[in-house]
Amino acid sequence: MSKNTEFVKFDKVDKSYDGKVLVVKDLNLNISEGEFITMLGPSGSGKTTCLMMLAGFETPTNGEIYLDSNPISNIPPHKRGIGMVFQNYALFPHMTVYENLAFPLRVRKVQKDEIDKKVDKALSMVSLSGFESRMPAQLSGGQQQRVAVARALVFDPAVVLMDEPLGALDKNLRESMQYEIKHIHENIGVTVVYVTHDQGEALTMSNRIAVFNDGKVQQLSSPDKLYEEPVNSFVAEFIGENNTFGGEVTDISKDVCKVKLQNGEILANPVSVTSKGDKTTVSIRPERALINPKDKMDNNQTGKIEEVIYHGDHTRVRLDLLGNKEFILKVPNSSNDLDLKLGNEIKVGWNSQDARALDPK
């Protein structure tokens, strides 16, 4: 069975609330059937607006959204057949769990025994069988969350939208719910559009992540690619930790370029620089820079230790390196032969491949 790669399609969508500022600018996004896609971005980046447009609570100012090749801008929310999990669950507080789950089926005039069967199945899917007669207020946050997920899935929608559904849970519960939602998605193969500002959540759960900033998709790719190969400095900054150097390209070839910093020069991977004289921001992940590297590396520098913070499984070391006083290193706890003391000078090396020369900040 070939999957429709344009199951949900945003086509040149613009959205403005006040006629002055565009919250979403020229959004083009294809979501394939059965995919788990996450819209990730800081607050105000337009990701929730996109979700609301897809759900039908907001209308695009320009452009069109297609669901299974049908334009849906003029279809009211209740006819779209899209399930949605809200930020604060939005369970109906005056109905029992059973009635909450039966609501979408009752409005669709499903037979009573059919409703019972479906509610039963949905509740067992989120391992809440036997909770039918509870009121939402009698459930814990995690249980409410699961009821909300079950309710969004019980009427077999083609697409399920989740708007920061785990935001109100504590850290441990959030993590276990991440896996649970991921497993549900894998088991039933529904298309999920998930909105979050938590990058950890996005990296754990998604097939693909769309990083939003300033109303635009900055990068759309799989989690590993997003982390390893950010295409611009916003993505590099937003996803994971990052050491940056601002400078100017002095020499450039196909795989490597020379970047002149304020006090020094480094070799970098030319990602978004094309010619000599380009301003650039070079981004290096902390775990890619090694102390006293055994292998040969094409960047070798010396830095002074400014701060050492013990983190249990690793130690974070802040260096003053090439004029950057915020250069972070992550040292695994196993390498205890190092002399990490304040003020010590240590040697640091990295490959030019891992130093990505991106657009200037």
């Binding site: 209740h78 949605m84 809200f86 939005a90 979408p104 009427f155």
Partner: protein, 420 residues
């Protein structure tokens, strides 16, 4: 460990329980002292007057004190035929004391209320006593019976006997257009004199419809208030609260200006040709005026509880209802409306209770067909000075409100009320 059986001591060696009680007693006394002034105030201004009203409404001691000997001697009278000489004699001796104290007029008034005709015959008896025409050595019964033929009528003596108990339910019966007849049976007054029952029914009817109108108008307003952006909702809130900041009299007077036959509304109707100039409808001094003015005045009491409840309903619930496939109406009816019931209950109860005792507005714009029971109470307080009757009606009103409250509690549950 035997820590469960051992008494736990504080570090000073005092048993923990005693120490705890001591520490909490101080707080309790402090808390009580804080509310004590209010409690005192409530007792003086609320509980005491209600008690006073109650005793006044059933009090009939005046006549009991006026004719002590008469009632004493009447105890053995069966009330079927004219009483014995002894009763007549004690009545005369009581009456003489009253004449000395110049209180015979009061007696006449009171007895006349019980049975028409006492005024004349008491006056006649007074004249005879004043002139010392009654010879106590002869049969007093015969002499009194000669004063006026009514003194020979057993019904008048029965009436005197009926006033004997120090307490009476007559005022309550009167408020229901009923009275105790000669045989001590509850009887309805003749049809042309039944005025109170109409007033009660009208009061309930007006209160009910005012509540319905307030609900129909207040619900959308409250919804708008709860969903509009802050800057608009504040303005609207001021409009809703504006009536609170204007004197009740001013508001009612402005309704009079608007609604009278030569008033603004009628002028407008004539101008747009809805009615002809010589056929202006009467919108005041009848029920229409009462409805319009009371609905406007009581509207905030409906809007505020509704608003405070609606404010707590997350807009995402309606969205959830729609995204799950409910049409906007279904989402409203199945999700939003049930959640506002506590506010509806509070608002309706508040408006109904306030409306049932409303006084100034119906007095000013109600006219003859728009007056309510409260106006009748005021009439008896100020004009007839029959305070005990006014008290009885006031208490019946209070009882009615309590019954409504009880019913509401049974149907909806008072715990569900939300005022804010």
């Amino acid at each position: 460990m035997s820590s469960e059986t051992k008494q736990i001591l504080t570090t000073d060696g005092i048993p923990l329980e005693i120490s705890l009680k001591k520490a909490e007693r101080k707080n309790k006394i402090k808390a009580f002292l804080l509310v004590a002034p209010l409690l005192l105030f409530l007792i003086i201004t609320y509980i005491f007057p209600i008690g006073e009203m109650f005793t006044r409404s059933i009090d009939d001691k005046m006549i009991t004190n006026m004719l002590p000997k008469t009632f004493k001697s009447m105890e053995s009278w069966d009330g079927k035929e004219l009483p014995s000489e002894e009763v007549f004699a004690s009545f005369l001796s009581d009456f003489k004391i009253l004449v000395e104290k110049k209180e015979h007029g009061k007696l006449a008034q009171r007895l006349n209320k019980e049975k028409n005709g006492f005024n004349t015959i008491t006056k006649k008896l007074f004249r005879q006593v004043k002139r010392n025409k009654i010879d106590e050595t002869q049969s007093i019964k015969e002499q009194i019976m000669k004063v006026h033929k009514r003194w020979r009528n057993v019904e008048y003596w029965q009436a005197i006997k009926r006033t004997a108990p120090p307490y009476t339910s007559a005022k309550y019966l009167k408020a229901m257009d009923m009275y105790l007849n000669e045989d001590n049976k509850i009887t309805q007054v003749s049809e042309d004199r039944r005025i109170h029952r109409i007033l009660w029914l009208r009061t309930v009817e007006v209160a009910f419809f005012v509540t319905v109108f307030c609900f129909l108008m207040g619900y959308p307003i409250a919804h708008l208030l709860a969903t509009l952006p802050m800057k608009y909702s504040n303005l609207l809130m001021i409009c809703v609260l504006l009536p609170f900041w204007t004197s009740l009299l001013v508001r009612t007077a402005s309704w009079m200006i608007l609604l009278q036959q030569q008033g603004v509304v009628n002028d407008f109707f004539v101008m747009i040709g809805l009615v002809s100039d010589d056929n202006r409808p009467e919108m005041m001094y009848n029920k229409v005026g009462t409805y319009v003015a009371m609905t406007q005045i009581l509207l905030p009491f409906m809007v505020l509880p509704l608003y405070s409840v609606m404010k707590t309903i997350s807009p995402s619930l309606m969205r959830a209802g729609k995204s799950l496939g409910g049409t906007p109406f279904v989402a409203f009816w199945k999700v939003y409306f049930p959640l506002t019931i506590p506010g509806i209950g509070a608002g309706c109860l508040l408006v109904f209770i306030l409306a049932i005792g409303y006084y100034i507005t119906p007095a000013l714009v109600g006219g003859a067909s728009g007056t309510l029971i409260s106006n009748q109470i005021a009439y008896h307080m100020k004009t007839t000075l029959d305070w005990s009757f006014a008290s009885a009606m006031g208490l019946m009103l209070l009882g009615g409100v309590l019954v409504i409250y009880w019913l509401y509690n049974k149907l909806v549950g008072v715990d569900n009320i939300k005022l804010g």
